[in-house]
């Protein structure tokens, strides 16, 4: 049943993609969907691009298992849209063409800034892509009841092949329609479940919260912050703040979100599409709150943990319970529907990410850095399609290799890199007259290195037990992987990449608190310390960019 619904979605989206490919002729069609989407269509597509499996399955699961702390994620993800609305969306729409780097290149020296921005686009998108595909693999194998590493690799390869098809054949137009269909399905599924959950509790939220808290076995603490984040020492509280910063500042630096602003005809349409997106995404996160607490109340933490220790299947188990329970017709129908929605969600997000990365490779790195603007549109689009295949292949390979990694960490890392490397440079380019090429390169490279550097020194990589990361009880498999006795008390993070027993030099799991200020500071210092004098041309370039960004004169 699940498979039939899933295949129906795939068939529908493949049809859309082929239809879109007939309408895709110019580079503007391929990169920006011909700039012909309405604000509502683009707003829904932004929702489809943004509400990933990590949001739907991950946040509902976090709330179901840890109560209130899962909600912290939703809030950061939503408030972040105000940064995009007030500071980035409209100005970016007016001053750029196809990629994030276009805006920087409008006033800074083209080759260095395009190289840096292209690299950071590919890095951020690839991290996010691997996170989605690894998540897809674990969720799909749980839902289809297939187990074992070979099955996971097959799922990853299948998702990868579909996303490459959507992007290479359908371009931005096909990808956007896939995202619109997915967002409508996702909102419908979430709304149906929300109403069913609330109906069980006479539409009384307080009653739902009470049952959830009682069922969780943690009492009222379940409804308060602190069960998951900042539970141990002072460092873990800083880690919570670090996570909060990355979430709120990351969105407006995510390349696959930024290129969505180019799909509408004007800055005003970009503004209206962000406002639609805020409404849709906000409503969705409010519903995941009900779904998470509903899963805690109706399914129960123990049953969720048994199915998947990280809680990713909470939403699907809740669907089954709401439909009438395991084995009933209603139960399997609901399960099949929600599982198919989850597949759709993953496919739409990975397609958007692949498009962002391949656009940047073709438009920034190939056309403007390698060929110095001497290539024609057709060559550029051919390179974009090849790049989509290459990036898709690369992420299939990385995901197959990284299939046991923690998904939430990869998503949070992508946000942290976007906030540290991209956002400072975008804001300085748009608003700071004295900003320079050197500042942009310092900011992007520095933010990137700082974010990844902190992670390389963090408990993600070094899992030794400490005051921040207390020792955990190991399963037999984990103990064997770590090479320690199952009763050992020296392991704080059994999934650490380098060593389970060495204590991390930096106790922060989220790099944002260090790397975001570093990104801003390096961009500013780079701009202020350059040897080359700013001249009248630089000044004129900023004035022209500002004029275009504010009014839309000369916008593409």
């Amino acid at each position: 049943m699940t498979i039939a619904l899933f295949l129906a979605f795939v068939a529908l989206t493949l049809g859309i993609t082929v239809w879109a490919s007939r309408q895709t002729r110019s580079a503007a069609d391929f990169y920006a969907g011909g700039r012909s989407f309405s604000p509502l269509q683009n707003g829904v597509a932004i929702g489809g691009d943004y509400m990933s499996a990590a949001s739907f399955l991950g946040i509902a699961g976090l709330i179901a298992l840890n109560g209130y702390d899962g909600f912290l994620y939703s809030i950061g993800f939503l408030v972040a849209w105000l940064v995009a609305l007030l500071l980035v969306a409209e100005l970016m729409r007016n001053s750029g063409r196809y990629t994030m780097a276009d805006v920087l290149a409008a006033r800074l020296r083209e080759r260095p800034v395009r190289t840096a921005a292209g690299v950071s686009t590919v890095v951020v998108s690839t991290f996010y892509l691997v996170a989605q595909m690894v998540g897809a693999a674990s969720v799909v194998s749980l839902l289809l009841g297939v187990t074992g590493d070979a099955a996971k690799v097959w799922v990853i390869a299948g998702v990868g092949a579909l996303m490459i098809f959507y992007v290479t054949v359908g371009g931005m137009k096909g990808t956007t329609w896939v995202q619109i269909v997915k967002a409508v399905l996702l909102m419908a599924g979430a709304a149906l479940m929300t109403v069913l959950v609330l109906a069980r509790y006479h539409f009384n939220v307080s009653e739902l919260l009470g049952v959830a808290a009682a069922q969780s076995g943690k009492g009222l603490a379940f409804l308060e912050p602190g069960l998951k984040y900042g539970a141990t020492d002072a460092w873990s509280k800083l880690d919570l703040i670090s996570l909060g910063l990355a979430l709120v500042l990351g969105t407006a630096g995510l390349p696959h979100i930024l290129i969505r602003f180019y799909t509408v005809p004007s800055a005003r349409a970009a503004r209206r599409s962000v406002i639609w997106a805020i409404g849709i995404i906000g409503a969705f996160y409010l519903m995941t709150l009900v779904l998470g607490f509903g899963a805690a109340a109706l399914v129960g933490g123990a049953a969720i943990k048994k199915s998947d220790p990280s809680g990713n299947t909470a939403a699907t188990l809740l669907a089954e319970t709401l439909g009438g329970g395991a084995g009933s017709t209603g139960g399997s129908l609901m399960l099949a529907f929600i599982a198919a929605v989850a597949f759709a969600t993953i496919l739409a997000v990975v397609a958007g990410l692949t498009l962002a990365a391949s656009s940047s490779v073709a438009h920034d790195l190939y056309a403007n850095v390698v060929r110095r603007g001497r290539s024609d549109e057709r060559q550029e689009m051919r390179v974009a399609r090849l790049a989509a295949v290459a990036i898709g292949g690369l992420s299939i390979g990385l995901s197959a290799f990284a299939r046991d990694l923690n998904v939430a960490f990869l998503v949070a890392l992508a946000f942290a890199i976007a906030a540290s490397a991209n956002l400072p440079v975008i804001l300085f380019t748009l608003f700071w007259r004295r900003f320079t090429t050197r500042g942009a390169v310092w900011g992007i490279v520095g933010g990137l290195v700082a974010a990844i550097g902190v992670v390389l020194l963090s408990p993600i990589c070094w899992g030794g037990a400490s005051a921040t990361k207390p020792a955990v009880t190991l399963t037999a498999k984990q103990a064997a992987t770590c090479g320690v006795d199952a009763a050992a008390k020296s392991v704080g993070n059994p999934t650490a990449l380098f060593s389970c027993t060495t204590v991390a030099p930096v106790p922060l799991e989220n790099p944002g608190l260090v790397s975001i200020p570093a990104g801003f500071a390096l961009a500013a210092v780079g701009a202020l310390t350059g040897r080359r004098r700013r001249d009248a041309d630089d000044d004129a370039a900023f004035t022209a960019l500002e004029h275009r960004a504010l009014t839309g004169v000369g916008a593409h």
Binding site: L78, L86, N204, V205, S206, L209, L223, R271, L550, T551
Partner: protein, 120 residues
């Protein structure tokens, strides 16, 4: 003329966007800091099982929706008419640069002044 229009547009945009960004970021950070360091306060129940933490969280949603709507109204009223006028003026300049250049610019400025009165 149009140079001062762009000044006004920039000032109006920045006067709204910058303080508002500072305000919502401060409000969000306050919420995160309270979640980390003021857990007793966050756990106080207001009615039924609804506590301060939940109300503050919902408050973040409400403020986000509110600021988005406020900005949309502000932009429609105070920014869009100016941007439109500047764009029309630029179109005139490129269209009639050869023959009616100075005359077109003058009449454009006159029109923009009266429109400026109307929006005030």
């Amino acid at each position: 003329m149009s140079d001062s229009d762009i000044e006004v547009l920039r000032r109006r945009f920045r006067r709204f966007a910058f303080p508002m960004t500072a305000a919502f970021l401060a409000w969000y950070l306050l919420y995160v800091l309270l979640s980390a360091y003021a857990r007793d306060l966050m756990g106080v129940r207001v009615f039924g099982n609804v506590n301060v933490a939940l109300l503050l969280g919902i408050g973040q949603f409400a403020s986000t929706f509110g600021i988005a709507a406020w900005y949309a109204a502000y932009a429609r009223r105070r920014l869009d008419p100016l941007a439109d006028r500047l764009r029309t003026a630029a179109d005139h300049r490129t269209a009639g640069a050869a023959d009616t250049g100075p005359a077109g610019a003058t009449s454009g400025a006159g029109a923009s002044d009266s429109a400026g009165e109307a929006t005030r």
